[in-house]
């Protein structure tokens, strides 16, 4: 069973990918075999003064995912995700979660080697 998390503006596959990782509205955890979804609200993390990227990493790590798909991932979050053995697919904003998952399944998402966002943003 392989699960991935997509930063999402809402709880359904037809919601838009939230471009932010740490301060995303939530995460849609998708089981790639069954396409069953589970929504993790990230509202508590959004308001944190610091460490949002790390808190978000904790949430997705606890959900047991092997990939995170998002728009931009900052350096601290990237470091934490890499340490937890979670791959990162970036630059997937401007589409629905379903489209991002389809692209991923078709092999159109690369595992990022570096964060694409500066610290503190």
């Amino acid at each position: 069973m392989s699960k991935i998390a997509v930063t999402s503006e809402g709880p359904s596959l037809d919601d838009l990918v939230d471009p932010r990782f740490g301060r995303a509205a939530g995460f849609l955890v998708v089981d790639l075999d069954t396409m069953k979804t589970e929504y993790i609200d990230n509202g508590q993390t959004q308001v944190m003064a610091q460490g949002a990227g790390i808190q978000a990493t904790e949430l997705v790590a606890r959900a047991g995912v092997s990939w995170v798909l998002s728009g931009y991932v900052g350096p601290k979050a990237f470091q934490a995700l890499s340490a937890a053995g979670i791959n990162v697919g970036q630059n997937l904003e401007g589409m629905t979660v379903r489209q991002a998952v389809e692209r991923f399944k078709a092999g159109g998402v690369e595992s990022a080697q570096a964060p694409n966002r500066e610290a503190g943003r």
Partner: protein
């Protein structure tokens, strides 16, 4: 008595006021540079440095073999400087505030104390003035922990040698500036009579007012700009303790790193008078406190 010399922004002459005030003070006096991000008081006082030591803060080090991934440390730390990712515990020592909470809460005693270097504290003498400064390590993001070390050292020096302290505070109104001024007996706000100077002066006055310490203004480069600062001071009842004229000779002395109180008898008088005003302000506040007690 502890006097802190603050300003809403950099470049108002805060450091030169600190140095000059220390040079005319009578009795034992400690000149302290708490502007740890950019200390420059030593450039004016040219102290002979007698000693230095590094200051550290405790940060967590996790023994993975003992960890059961209970998540307690992670849930506790509001700074996310320690994070349980279920397969491992990550630490971000540079984000840690050194509270020690995670070390205390870990049920498996898996977290021990490592250290992060904050910077260096050095001390010495400049003539009859005792000198103390902190310098933040390059790359260190937090000033207040190092500032607390410097203040603790100042406390020990005051206990051992007695006398008063004059603190060169960091500019601005953020956490480091507040940390510097909050436990002083008198706060001096150095400003320039320009629109920008006034704007930052007002911010500083608002930020420091809640501490209920006697505050007074020192107008540097008086004669420049407009009278907005003066009007504000008279409205709010902020005493203007000294005015330093805008003068080419002073600007030159300043740029050469000289103590301006030593450039002319008139300026020396200005600072001697300022010292008297500060002492009067402190006495007045002391009497008020006694009356309320």
């Amino acid at each position: 008595m502890i006097v802190s010399v603050a300003s809403g922004k950099g470049g108002t002459g805060k450091t030169t006021v600190t140095a000059s005030l220390a040079s005319v003070w009578d009795g034992p006096v400690h000149a302290v540079d708490l502007d740890v991000e950019e200390p420059n008081l030593h450039l004016f006082l040219n102290p002979v440095i007698a000693g230095a030591e590094k200051a550290h803060m405790p940060v967590p080090v996790v023994e993975e073999a003992l960890c059961t991934h209970c998540g307690a440390c992670s849930d506790l730390c509001q700074f996310k400087a320690i994070s349980d990712l279920k397969t491992l515990v990550l630490t971000f020592p540079e984000m840690c505030h050194g509270c020690g909470g995670c070390m205390a809460i870990c049920p498996e005693k898996a977290i021990s104390r490592g250290t992060r270097e904050l910077g260096e504290i050095s001390w010495g003498v400049s003539g009859k003035v005792h000198f103390l400064m902190g310098r933040l390590r390059v790359g260190e993001a937090m000033s207040p922990p190092l500032m607390r070390h410097v203040k603790a050292m100042l406390g020990r020096m005051l206990d051992a040698k007695g006398g008063d302290a004059i603190i060169d505070a960091p500019p601005g109104v953020s956490c480091p500036a507040v940390n510097a001024v909050m436990d002083s007996d008198v706060i001096l706000l150095v400003t320039e009579p320009t629109p920008f100077g006034f704007y930052d002066f007002e911010l500083a006055w608002r930020a420091f007012t809640p501490f209920n310490r006697p505050m007074g203004a020192v107008i540097n480069r008086a004669g420049l700009g407009n009278d907005a600062v003066l009007r504000f001071c008279s409205d709010k009842g902020i005493p203007i303790l000294a005015s330093i004229p805008y003068d080419r000779a002073i600007a030159e002395a300043y740029s050469q790193g000289r103590i301006i109180a030593e450039t002319s008898p008139e300026l020396r008088e200005t600072f001697v008078a300022l010292k008297g005003e500060i002492q009067a302000l402190a006495r007045q506040a002391g009497r008020k406190e006694a009356a309320h007690a």
